[in-house]
Amino acid sequence: MFEMVDVTVRFNAGEALRGASLRIAPGDRIGIVGESGSGKSMLAACLMGMVPDAAKLSGSLSIDGTDMTGAAEATWQAIRARRTAMIFQEPMSALNPLRRVGDTVAEPMRVHLGLSKSDARNRVIALFEEVGIPDPVSRLRMFPHELSGGQRQRVLIALALACDPELLIADEPTTALDANVALKITDLLVHLSQSRNMALVFISHDLAAVARATTDIAVMYGGDIVERGLTAEVLADPVHPYTQGLLAARPDPQAIPRDANGSRRRLPTIPGTVPPLYAMAQGCRFSGRCSVEREECASVKPMPVGPRHATCHAVKRGEA
Amino acid sequence: MKSLPANFVIGAVLVALVVGVAGLSLIWTPHDPTALNIRGKFGDPSAVNWLGTDQLGRDIVSQLMAAARNSMTVALVAVLLGGSIGVALGLLASAIGGWIEDGVMRLADLGFAFPALLFAIMLAAVFGPSLTNAVLAIAFINIPIFARVARASANQIWTREYVLAARAAGMNKFTITRDHILPNIAAAVIVQATIEFAVAILAEAALSYLGLGAQPPASSWGRMLSEAQTLMYLAPELAFYPGFCIVIAVLGFGLLGDGLRDITDPRLARAR
């Protein structure tokens, strides 16, 4: 059980994460959605103990009740791979180019589990089979540049599974991949989560992938979790104005908005862009881009309300 | 205006100091650096001889100043000579391309097989050791270095739109090289020249130390050190001052070069 309560990550320029709370139980599949700069990668960094040195962490982060908030790097090294593992966006550059992929995947097993060379090798072969790498025995000896993007992402998944973690964080795991490869990787992650009873935190800006992969969802904007709930419900009936905007901006071939004459309209977009950290509003971070904004929004930080924990003054007033 | 990089500022101060002293020595030194005074040998620092005198009673400060001038002159002539030949070759290679470019670059590779010391040794064996030979040897090793820098920078400029436009307008390669290529590679060449200046000071000192450079009675930091080495038990302090001057000069030009590069090419500065 991983638990974050009111975790804030503060840089000199501002807060990259503002009072985020999240509980992750075995087998949970949680999607984290948001634009770049929303704090979703910082949330993942918290769970891996990989928050940059320059940042200050406050709030509480615990694993099975043990407080990890101020834990030393050495403590985290024992947690990583064995309890939490992570895969990253760029399978092209996330693997050491000078190492055979089999050696890369075997390394944490040898370091953390003390496996012998041959035991580790057998385990790598089994893992390669589990993540759907064909002909694992010959792939072991290949270098990353000899594999396709999808194969590399599978190798990274195998690496993450090397020490049977309880939690797998996938940070934009499909963004750099072709659409059909992305689908297969998404399904693989779901399958692994179910078969191993392993929690999955699936970070993406791709709503369709999140819908496919997860049961629960947290929507992030500007370092806040602005709305959370069951994935299906949130995506069907968003409460927070930002979630609404995000869904409206989704290109959906089934629901291309048309005007009264039946001709296609332009896809609605959320006006403006995510401001840099130092320029974020003190209050609701979505203020300035929001369609239902009031005076108080920019200065007063909205508290989570309702079953969706929506951080929005308008929702609180029952207007949205 | 962003604040200047620290290495640039420190380098500029040290260079100004060394060049200033070298310039001053043209018109004034406390004493004649070559004037002997056997009675006053190994003199302690005093109001007359600020850092004392050497084994022949010559004033140390005056010698160090004259040596600074000689060192700067050698470095300047060597870098200018080697640099202009090298840049000319690099520009030629870049402008004409084809087998000429290949040929020039192969020659440049060949140049790298001869460190300055080896070249100076050959010249000394044939013509006898002299400062001229040292200058020629240092100039020689600068040719391939500048040829490479000039060619690499020029090749980039040749692909720019305004150069393509100039070519389309029928300008010949010589004119384009003069009007567009040369001004645009100047920054890279100056940065390299500053760094090679530091290398040249070091090379001159080494060659003079070995007796392949400045010949008596000319003052040189390297030669002062080789004389001091034989007197280590008698007057160890004589081995300090010239080395210290070399370090200041080399450090100054090295830092100045790094600083200039950081200013002119922020992309490279990132990795530092």
Binding site: A94, F143 | I121, L123, V126, Y209, Q229, M232, P236, G254
Partner: protein, 314 residues
């Protein structure tokens, strides 16, 4: 792969040939009459004629060049004019000294530079980084011969721990080792200043890459990440500099041997210059140039061993 090897080998041989032409030309054409250079202006005509005959100067230039190359290939560099023995004998007596100095210097350089460079990179932006980089910046500006003099002043003149120079001969191994300590340290300290900086910036470049993050996410210790993941990837620029440095180191031995009065090839060169012994100087300069060119050739081959991606492309 094969193509790459063949191309590089051909280039290597071509460079060696070109180097031999340059050396031969400088030593034989520039002086006009080598015999006159050797014997000086006041030599008698008979002596000059005899020496010309001795050195084979009466033969055409081309024949002399090929004769020299053919001899060199079989280890025959002709007769030393001043020592009156074959040049090859002079060289083989002194080669061990120069090679030991260069190899020991290179090993010590690598040890110091890689440790310091990786340490500085791991402390990026912190005090340890600043201090080591400040010292290395200073180290680049320090001439090896001055550092040698300072080391001698400290360890030989003041502390009397080590001999100030000279060499007792290999028959006394302990004394021989002791007399090589200061020269090796002087060589290595100066060279490692440059290499440490290259190692640091190359390591920092690699540490920014994604796979370093992957390694950290796998729970590997920083030490393991630095030495097993970062360093191998940082090696390509490091090896380039090491190749150039080996060349600098070999010519550096010429200087150091003269500082410490060690009987190696560097001393021999200077004795030969003083004696106007052109055949010996010519052989030695060629030998040093061969070492420099070979070092760069080896570096080219090392790249392929380090980086499997180059193997595919090469």
């Amino acid at each position: 792969m094969m193509y790459f090897l063949i191309r590089r080998t051909v280039g290597f041989i071509a460079t060696l040939i070109a180097v031999s032409i340059v050396v031969f030309a400088v030593m034989n054409i520039l002086p006009g009459d080598p015999a006159l250079t050797i014997l000086g202006m006041d030599a008698t005509d008979d002596a000059l004629a005899a020496l010309r005959e001795d050195l084979g100067l009466n033969e055409p230039l081309l024949a002399r060049y090929f004769g020299w190359v053919a001899g060199a290939l079989t280890g025959d560099f002709g007769l030393s004019h001043s020592f009156r023995v074959p040049v090859s004998e002079l060289i083989s007596e002194r080669l061990a000294m120069t090679i030991s100095l260069a190899v020991a210097g290179m090993l010590l350089t690598l040890l110091i530079a890689l440790s310091v460079g990786i340490y500085a990179a791991s402390r990026h932006g912190k005090a340890g980084d600043w201090v080591t980089m400040f010292i290395s910046q200073l180290g680049i500006a320090v001439p090896a011969f001055w550092l040698s003099i300072l080391l001698v002043l400290l360890f030989a003149v003041n502390l009397r721990w080590l001999p100030p120079g000279g060499f007792p001969g290999w028959s006394e191994p302990v004394a021989a080792m002791r007399s090589l300590i200061l020269p090796t340290v002087a060589l290595a300290l100066v060279q490692s200043a440059v290499l440490a900086r290259v190692t640091r910036s190359s390591a920092l470049e690699v540490m920014r890459q994604d796979f370093t993050r992957t390694a950290r996410a796998s729970g590997l210790s920083q030490r393991r990440i630095l030495w097993r993941h970062v360093l191998p990837n940082a090696l390509v620029p490091i090896v380039t500099i090491v190749g150039m440095q080996f060349a600098a180191l070999v010519t550096g031995t010429i200087v150091i041997e003269n500082v410490f009065y060690l009987p190696g090839l560097g001393r021999l060169i200077f004795q030969s210059i003083a004696n106007r012994d052109l055949p010996t100087v010519q052989a030695l300069v060629m030998l040093f140039a061969i070492i420099v060119v070979t070092a760069n050739f080896v570096v080219d081959l090392l790249y392929v061993l380090i980086d499997p991606r180059l193997k595919a492309r090469a």
